[in-house]
Amino acid sequence: MSVDTTVRMGGLELRTPLLTGSGTFGYGNEFSALIDYSHFGGIVTKSISLKPRPGNPPPRICETASGGIINSIGLANVGVEEFISEKIGDLPLQRTEVFISVVGDSVEEYREIVSKLEGVDGIAGYELNVSCPNVRRGGLDLGGDREAVAAIVSEVRSITNRFISVKLTPHYPVIEPVAKAAADSGADALTLINTLVGMTIDAEQRRPLLGNVTGGYSGPPLKPVALAKVWHAAQAVDIPIWASGGIVNGIDGIEFLLAGASTLQLGSVLFVDPFSPGRIMKEMIDYCERHDVERLSDLTGSLEV
């Protein structure tokens, strides 16, 4: 049995539901010696800001006993000008769909960054990062305010016809109001979830393990939180949901599809297993064959409750 892995949304046709999680795949070509792009429906770049950001002081990454990791990169990136002049040529535009993650300090900055990127051919769309836990502005303080999210999405929508997903924080006590606000403002999809704010301490040294003290918690332990947010958001909005949070194997992916996701972002797992996209696709196809599912996308939202 041949399983159809195509995902169609907002005029886009993705070869598979797999995307990369922003911040885990650099500017799109760092893994090119090892990664087979054919397993991806698309990639999402690291977040691009208006001005260059050097990022947070090191150390920037640590592990947790629970099998997760905490990072505090601080959105280090070259800024949109250098991104366009130096990095666009490295994007795998011929090999997969490319979405640019965008982060700003204000509504105006989101507009300015996207307006500059509108001049670049071949980009499929944008993921608006309104939820980074590692920066003081343009992160949770914007994403935590649903009016701000609505304003950012409306502003960006007014200057682009390209696909827009909005990446939300898991820190809302209830996700539905902000999910609706983003959808009503013109978002084509929601990305759920960004990392959880976390912290680790070296008790012997009485010091935090991260230079920024706190960071964004990711990896397998995050999956139950992400599943719940995807599930709740899927009940509230009709736009597709891009799931992100602890996916390391095909069954993880299937669970997110059942909960209501249309695409699946691979993030931290790429650090450990750059070959995971092929393995995860095979495991999901195996699942479909075992369950007589002809189209992977048929699983979206098919959880029996």
Partner: protein
């Protein structure tokens, strides 16, 4: 170009306390590695511990390479429990190698503890006829990171903090004695070890205008330049280098070696 290779453990032996020496058959990586480069090693069959561990490539011979490591936590504990015949999932070689010395220059290889690993390979890869002194510092004889046979074979001079073997003092103090003898000669120093040691090494080399290359170890994520986790501060401007992509070997003049910047 890095390769993913399933190496096969050929031999694993305990050197001292928590220090292990593993010989792995990995023909592609062993054949392509240059001193200073590292391999990113998976340390669980599942995903806990989650991250790979960056380990310096040690001496290579034919299809084989050596990984010498300290057991510091769950990941390296998993690694030391491998047996001959087990597979080791590695990506490498990664990063920039040491720049070899100019012809006629005298080289000092200055190692602190487990920092000796990339310098063992460098010793093997120095051009024939290179004039070199190889110095290793440890806290105590019980913490030697290689065995006596290799110390003799590679003509390594020892220093120990407690005086239990070799020169009584730090390896940088031992280096200073050597530098005193050969002042005025073109010298390149290659250093690898704990960050406080590298910081002191830099403070000795800089006033004498001695070129110093250091190999750094920091917490790392992807190892490929994508996640930007392994940052070290630049000296001459704001911002950071990435150890995986811009290093792990750096011209010491360009990186901030203050201990809190490198753990």
């Amino acid at each position: 170009m890095p390769t993913a290779e399933k190496g096969i453990v050929v031999q694993i032996r305990k050197i001292n306390d928590d220090i292990w020496d593993m010989t792995v058959s990995a023909p592609v990586i062993a054949g392509n590695s240059r001193a200073g480069q590292f391999v990113h090693v998976r340390v669980s069959e599942e995903f806990n511990p989650f991250l790979r561990r960056p380990l310096s490539v040690g001496p290579c011979s034919g299809d084989f390479l050596r990984l010498i490591f300290i057991v510091k936590g769950r990941g390296t504990r998993w690694l030391c429990n491998r047996c001959p015949g087990d597979h080791i999932d590695m990506i490498g070689p990664l990063g920039h190698p040491f720049q070899l010395p100019e012809p006629g220059a005298h080289s000092f290889l200055v190692a602190g503890g487990i920092g000796i690993v990339p310098l063992l390979l460098l010793k093997d890869q120095l051009p024939e006829g290179t004039s070199v002194d190889f110095l290793l510092g440890v806290r105590s004889v019980s913490l030697l990171t290689i065995d006596n046979a290799e110390i003799r074979q590679k003509k390594i001079q020892l220093a120990s903090d407690d005086g239990s073997i070799g020169f009584h003092g730090s390896v940088v103090e031992l280096l200073e004695q050597y530098l005193h003898k050969c002042e005025g000669k073109g010298i390149t120093v290659y250093g690898c070890g704990p960050s406080p040691m590298l910081s002191v090494l830099k403070s000795v080399c800089t006033p004498k205008s001695i070129r110093l290359y250091v190999s750094l170890e920091v917490p790392m994520g992807c190892g490929m330049g994508a996640c930007q986790s392994c940052a070290v501060s630049k000296v001459d401007s704001d911002g950071y280098y990435l150890v995986c992509q811009d290093g792990p070997v750096f011209d010491a003049a360009k990186v901030d070696l203050k201990p809190e910047a490198v753990v």
